[in-house]
């Protein structure tokens, strides 16, 4: 009997054990994958590894744009238990207005929205406080926010990003792929309290590459400051400055006015318009600046030389359907270098006619006009240059003096670099490095011969020394350039207006140019709106600062040479030449009048008699005291009294020469030194 009981006991135990074993097999073998999946779903959390957007740096490594992590709070309005009470609680934690928050949550709840941003960019303490509430309807999202620490500095170059940190302008858009990076993924093993135990990275996150620009932060600031001051002073509508190294095309500064702050989204149409990069996106007729191309073509394709006399027809030239005037005192014959120095339109037209259509078009293209420069910025304009079959009867003449062609400030900088670097057309560069990798320089293309370039440099120095660009003369450095004052065409009335695009394009030093600066102001008015008046002073300040930053040694003594020395070295010709210190006032810039031909009885319009050249006159009063006055006040008072002033520096007037109270002679210029 006992044996029977033992047998029964053994049997029961065996069955029980078998059942357990069978269940174990079912759990760990048959349903293994299913339970593994369930366990992973409970224990593992898949998180996205953020890919930091690359920073944009200036050439010295200072950040111009960078992303910082930020936390934001959002709620599910449909899951909020008590709208009033909970919104009050949340508002207290996030330092928000409770009534406003309640209204927003209520509105979202009534509209059956399951998502509502409560506050973006919260502080770490606020994030901690919200997390400690441990409410299922409150979520803290970790994201990234783009910041531009210098506000408006280089905004047109940098561009901006949208809410998803995707570039929507400037470098941010052009190089978005490199900046964006690639997010990764990781699986985190968590415990019951959702604390991480282990992490397995399934996909590595790749941060975006940092981009180092060629822009120099300091120079950019000076360029933006000066163009803003000039636009406000001369009541222009917009302006731009480009500073470039002529040999490798590195853009050291690209300023555009009006500015904007990329940290703030645009709120009005004017904000949107301000985001237009005038330096490379808005073409304009260059005016007399284009004479550099005309003369370069002449030196290469004709027998004209700097001393070749050019017939300026006394200042008036009749063309089919047009009369061209030289607004200066009418010139008879001028050597070619003086045509450039005094910016004679008629002289340029004669030179252009000698060059011919085909060669003119060829050299305009060689200097890079009519095509994009290839700078990595969206919205670049290639300007406008019509093909020869589309040229009109007087197109050659117009193009010779910078009309019927539209260019951008950046194209002008590239063109003057050809002269500055010995004849090579370089590609402007904006990106110096991508990550740690320096980008290679594209080999330049020869546009003109080196000797042509050197000759042009000397002629352009004449513009600054004796011509229309005296305001651009630098202290301690030689400089060369060309002014331009192109009338703006009104498409409504089909007439040229008396508003100008005043420009100056130049380089310094002359012997071995280290920097090229082009300044353009759009919409200047009247006699005070010419390039030599509005743009040349900006060139002076910006070029001086650029040479100081680049540590370029001076090639001139600091004190300007005496009048006697300069007068003795100058070649006299039939036009009055202003020397340093007490030259003729720069009254008129190049200007052409697009006046319709007034038909006469015989259909002939004769030339106008040339005006007498202006000479230094007798004593006309005493020199006023400008000390302590701002630049604008000095210019206004001087203009009211008819006294030409040569300002230097910025800020308030400190020193003037001749001193206050001394005798002022008609035509004498007063030099005023400004400082802050």
């Amino acid at each position: 009997m006992v044996e029977r009981r033992l047998v029964w006991l053994a049997g029961i135990v065996l069955i029980w054990g078998g059942a357990i074993f069978g269940k174990l097999v079912a759990l760990q073998v048959v349903h293994h994958q299913e339970y593994v999946t369930k366990a992973r779903a409970r224990q593992e959390e898949v998180v996205e590894l953020r890919a930091q957007r690359g920073a944009i740096l200036d050439r010295t490594g200072h950040p111009l744009a960078m992303s910082v992590p930020t936390e934001s709070v959002f709620v599910d309005p449909l899951k909020v238990p008590s709208l009033e009470l909970d919104s009050d609680l949340l508002a207290h934690e996030l330092h928000l207005d409770p009534a406003e928050l309640y209204r927003r949550i209520r509105t979202a709840h009534d509209n059956h929205r399951g998502f509502l941003w409560v506050k973006r960019g919260i502080t770490p303490q606020e994030a901690e406080d919200v997390r400690s509430l441990k409410l299922e309807w409150i979520h803290v999202d970790t994201g990234s926010e783009r910041h531009y620490p210098n506000a408006t500095l280089a905004a047109h170059v940098l561009g901006g990003v949208d809410f998803a940190e995707k570039g929507n302008g400037g470098i941010e858009k052009a190089l978005d792929t490199q900046l964006h990076g690639a997010p990764g993924e990781a699986r985190i093993l968590t415990d019951v309290r959702r604390r991480g135990i282990d992490e397995l990275v399934s996909t590595e996150a790749h941060a975006g590459a940092s981009i180092t620009l060629t822009i120099d932060e300091r120079l950019q600031f000076v360029a933006e400051r000066e163009i803003a001051a000039a636009v406000k002073l001369h009541e222009a509508t917009s302006g731009s400055v480009v500073v470039m190294k002529p040999y490798d095309g590195q853009i050291l500064a690209m300023a555009s006015y009006p500015p904007y702050d990329p940290n703030q989204p645009p709120e009005s149409e004017s904000d949107v318009a301000a985001r237009s990069n005038h330096a490379m996106g808005v073409p304009f007729e260059p005016g007399s600046c284009f004479k550099v191309i005309t003369l370069s073509a002449a030196l290469e394709t004709t027998k004209l030389r700097p001393d070749t006399p050019i017939n300026c027809h006394g200042g008036v030239l009749v063309l089919p359907g047009r009369i061209i005037h030289d607004s200066h005192a009418g010139f008879g014959f001028l050597p070619m270098d003086m045509v450039l120095a005094h910016s004679s339109n008629i002289g340029a037209i004669e030179i252009g006619r000698t060059v011919g259509r085909a060669a003119m078009y060829d050299y305009v293209r060689r200097f890079g006009f009519g095509q994009k420069t290839g700078v990595p910025l969206p919205g670049e304009s290639k300007g406008r240059l019509r093909a020869i079959p589309q040229w009109g009867t007087t197109s050659l003449e117009s193009i010779s003096m910078g009309q019927e062609v539209s260019v951008t400030t950046l194209q002008l900088a590239r063109a003057v670099s050809v002269v500055a670097n010995g004849g090579l057309l370089v590609k402007p560069r904006l990106v110096l490095k991508q990550g740690d990798q320096t980008l290679p320089i594209e080999p330049p293309v020869r546009a003109i011969k080196p000797e042509t370039a050197i000759t042009m440099r000397q002629m352009m120095e004449g513009v600054v020394l004796v011509g229309t660009g005296k305001e651009a003369r630098l202290e301690g450095y030689t400089s060369g350039g060309k002014t331009g004052s192109a009338q703006i065409f009104d498409f409504a009335t089909r007439h040229y207006t008396h508003t100008y695009n005043g420009s100056f394009m130049g380089f310094a030093p002359v012997t071995n140019p280290a920097v090229v600066v082009v300044v353009t102001l759009n919409g200047t008015r009247g006699n005070g709106g010419f390039g030599g008046v509005v743009a040349a002073p900006v060139f002076k300040v910006v070029a001086t600062e650029a040479l100081r930053i680049l540590d370029v040694p001076k090639d001139l003594p600091d004190d300007p040479p005496s009048k006697t020395l300069l007068a003795a070295s100058q070649v006299l010709d039939d036009v009055s030449i202003a020397d340093l210190g007490s030259g003729q006032p720069n009254i008129l810039e190049d200007r052409d009048d697009e006046e319709p031909v007034a038909p006469q009885a015989d259909g002939f319009v004769g030339p106008v008699a040339p005006a007498a050249p202006v000479a230094q006159g007798p004593a006309a009063g005493t020199v006023p005291n400008f000390k302590g006055m701002t630049l604008r006040a000095v210019l206004m008072e001087a203009a009211a009294k008819g006294i030409p002033v040569q300002p230097d520096g910025s800020g308030v007037a400190r020193v003037q020469n001749p001193p206050p109270g001394s005798v002022w002679h008609q035509g004498e210029r007063i030099r005023v030194q400004f400082a802050r």
Partner: protein
């Protein structure tokens, strides 16, 4: 251990109590028909037997001691093995907690650093420095105030530095 009482193995009722057998010459005495059969175990009397075990000394079992130690050793070995298997896992889990906490802290510090870098960049912006300089009555040096330290002789052509 007490022996099994004999009565438990007894399966028959005891025979009638036998009187000393006196062989009678007479014929076998006849059974009294009115005599009752004895009840089972009637002849069994239980009484407490006093056993004095005070002088009884349990003899040590040498085999039991070694068996005990063997059991203890085996249990200890099992425990050690068990701990040896589990301990790394536990340590791994604890280390995992620390590691994750350190990762989170590293990420937090990296984020803080970026925030500070942004603040530094804002404080070093040219516009702010310019305003501070103006407040300190500092001016941009004019060209005549800038002296290049390299000794360049008179009449040398301007050289561009890279």
């Amino acid at each position: 251990m007490a022996t099994q009482p004999a009565f438990l193995t007894r399966t028959e009722t005891p025979a009638r109590i036998a009187v000393p057998a006196v062989r009678l010459d007479s014929a076998r005495a006849e059974r009294d028909p009115f005599q009752l059969r004895a009840l089972p175990h009637e002849d069994v009397f239980f009484y407490c037997k006093k056993i004095d075990n005070s002088r009884l000394v349990r003899e040590a079992d040498p085999r039991a001691g070694s068996a005990c130690w063997k059991v203890i050793g085996a249990a200890g070995l099992v425990l050690a093995l068990f701990t040896g298997v589990l301990a790394p896992r536990v340590a791994n889990t604890v280390a995992g907690y620390k590691l994750e906490a350190l990762r989170v802290e590293a990420q937090t510090l990296a984020d803080e650093r970026r925030t500070l870098e942004l603040e530094e960049a804002q404080r070093l912006s040219p516009e702010r420095l310019d305003k501070l300089a103006q407040g300190q009555n500092l001016v941009t040096p004019t060209a005549s105030q800038v002296v290049h330290l390299e000794n360049k002789g008179e009449g040398k052509v301007a050289m561009v530095k890279k």
